[in-house]
């Protein structure tokens, strides 16, 4: 077994920050009240939930009353999409999204289609970017709603969300942004950007799993998906997950410091070092946009190799990575994101994603680059595609 462990799968999830864990712990047993109770125990929990709401709102420049806590990013996406589509179904039944969204968004749209809505899925270019003229052309009479991700989980490309928001505003169409990968990692100000809704997830920013939030701009009406006790302004019933919400709040607070203390620049420097070292290997090319990408995100395609074999060899060297190959997706098709970007099936099978975290060091990057080079050479030595080339 290997001595060194380098986790480079922060797009999948992050470790809970020790300060976050510390903030959460009292809310499991000492301060266990239900935030909806009137007594002391309930008031203690309510106060904690309210404080966390302030922290999350402050991270994105919103007001605390605009934050709806949910059971994660997928739930927030479902709430935004189904909630908006159903609320405005008398006004129109046409909704728009993009080809590279997370399944939580794409599958919600497919469900809406089954329910009689018309859906338009915008294509992307070879960097994974949506075109603003395409969005303009897609909006028509009866369009009520557009959902677009801030940044892509597989290739890190940052979408032109500010321009998209402006167009939606001009055309009187609601604009939802899936910000799961971006919030806490790049500056996001919902007022400046003009979003109507924004999905967030705690565990992508050093908070706990199982808690997320939807920003819903004041004045935007949506239907709930989960009905019940009327918590979260009636938009998400169910007793508040106090400990999780407190953890999300603390994670948001820490993230806002990281956004201004130079951490992002250092992360970007290490990302660029990794991209440079990885793409220096023969027939390894970057996927996604070179500069308009998440500061922690490196993704490449490795020619003549299949992703799963690289992942398992990296794993044996103590390195955690991910891939969009068919073998890792659990289906026979490789990543729909890479295919939408125009990559061939063969190239998509060789995809590799390496996502850095706040504790990733330069030594880690060098270690990963050296191991990647060795593993690619070893695996190519037995790839019939590699040797048969002229």
């Amino acid at each position: 077994m290997t001595e060194r462990h380098v986790y480079l799968d922060h797009s999948a999830t992050t470790a809970v920050d020790s300060a976050v864990l510390e903030a959460m712990l009292p809310y499991f047993s000492e301060r266990y009240g239900n935030a909806n109770s009137l007594h002391l125990w309930g008031r203690v929990a309510r106060k904690a939930v309210n404080a966390a709401r302030e922290q999350v709102a402050s991270l994105i420049g919103a007001e605390s009353s605009e934050i709806i806590f949910t059971g994660g990013g997928s739930e927030a996406d479902n709430l935004a999409i189904k909630g908006a589509a159903f609320t405005h179904r008398e006004k129109g039944r046409h909704v728009i999204t993009t080809a590279v969204e997370h399944h939580a968004v794409l599958d919600s749209f497919k469900w809406l289609e089954k329910e009689g809505f018309e859906i338009t899925i915008l294509p992307v270019d070879e960097t994974g970017m949506v075109s603003i003229p395409d969005l303009k052309n897609a909006i028509r009479e009866g369009t009520t709603f557009v959902s677009m991700m801030f940044a892509n989980n597989e290739v890190g490309t940052i979408q032109p969300v500010a321009e998209a928001a402006r167009i939606c505003r001009e055309r009187g169409v609601l604009f939802h942004v899936d910000g799961v990968q971006a919030v806490g990692h790049i500056p996001v100000d919902v007022r400046e950007l003009g979003f109507d809704m924004l999905t967030m997830s705690a565990h992508k920013m050093y908070g706990p799993k199982g808690v997320g939030a939807l920003y819903v701009r004041k004045g935007v009406k949506i239907e709930p998906v989960i009905h019940g006790g009327g918590q979260e302004r009636g938009l998400r019933s169910g007793t508040e997950n106090t400990a999780g919400i407190v953890g999300f709040g603390k994670a948001a607070e820490i993230a806002s410091w990281r956004l201004v203390d130079g951490s992002i620049d250092e992360e970007t420097r290490l990302r660029d070092l990794l991209i440079e070292r990885a793409t220096a290997i023969e027939e390894v090319s970057l996927t996604g946009h070179r500069t308009k990408r998440l500061p922690f995100h490196a993704s490449v395609c490795v020619g003549s190799l299949e992703g799963e074999s690289m992942l398992l060899r990296l794993d044996a060297a103590g390195i955690g990575a991910s891939s969009g190959s068919a073998c890792t997706s659990g289906s026979l098709e490789p990543s729909y994101v890479l295919l939408a970007m125009g990559l061939s099936h063969e190239a998509a099978h060789g995809s590799l994603r390496l996502t850095l975290g706040k504790d990733t060091s330069e030594e880690d990057i060098v270690y990963v680059a050296e191991n990647l080079q060795r593993i690619v050479t070893d695996l190519r030595a037995m790839s019939p595609l590699w040797k048969n080339r002229g």
Partner: protein, 129 residues
């Protein structure tokens, strides 16, 4: 997810690499699906003297190739043709259901290489005649 045997053969494959001047070569699979297996055979008096493989694919594809080449080494052609994908799966200590196709590629790879050998033999005999 994978058995110890699969991981062992994936990490330390036996018989990996191209063969110079093989008597039979079989290539199965396609890059679109993410699996290509190429089997090389050296045959003397209808017996497989040496065998090697090149594989583009996941861990189970590489392990299946390595295993099937180990299994057919030293066998006669007819004995090698009798090896099925189930034998390969069994020898590997099992494969996850979605990976069974890798063992099928291994079976088909050997068959294709033998077929190639036989057609070359036939051509040679006809040339002599």
């Amino acid at each position: 997810m994978y058995s110890e045997k699969v991981m062992d053969l994936f990490m330390h494959p036996i018989n990996a690499g191209k063969m110079e001047n093989p008597d039979g070569v079989g290539e199965v699979g396609n890059p679109r699906c993410g699996d290509i297996m190429k089997i090389y055979l050296r045959i003397k008096d209808d017996r497989i003297e040496d065998v090697s493989f090149e594989t583009f694919g996941c861990a189970s594809a590489i392990a299946s190739s390595s295993m099937v080449t180990e299994m057919v080494k030293g066998l006669t052609i007819d004995e090698a043709l009798a090896i099925s994908n189930k034998d390969v799966v069994k020898a590997l200590g099992g494969l996850p259901p979605q990976k069974i196709h890798c063992s099928l590629l291994a079976e088909e790879g050997i068959q294709a290489a033998i077929e190639d050998y036989r057609s070359k033999q036939k051509a040679r005999t006809e040339a002599k005649a």
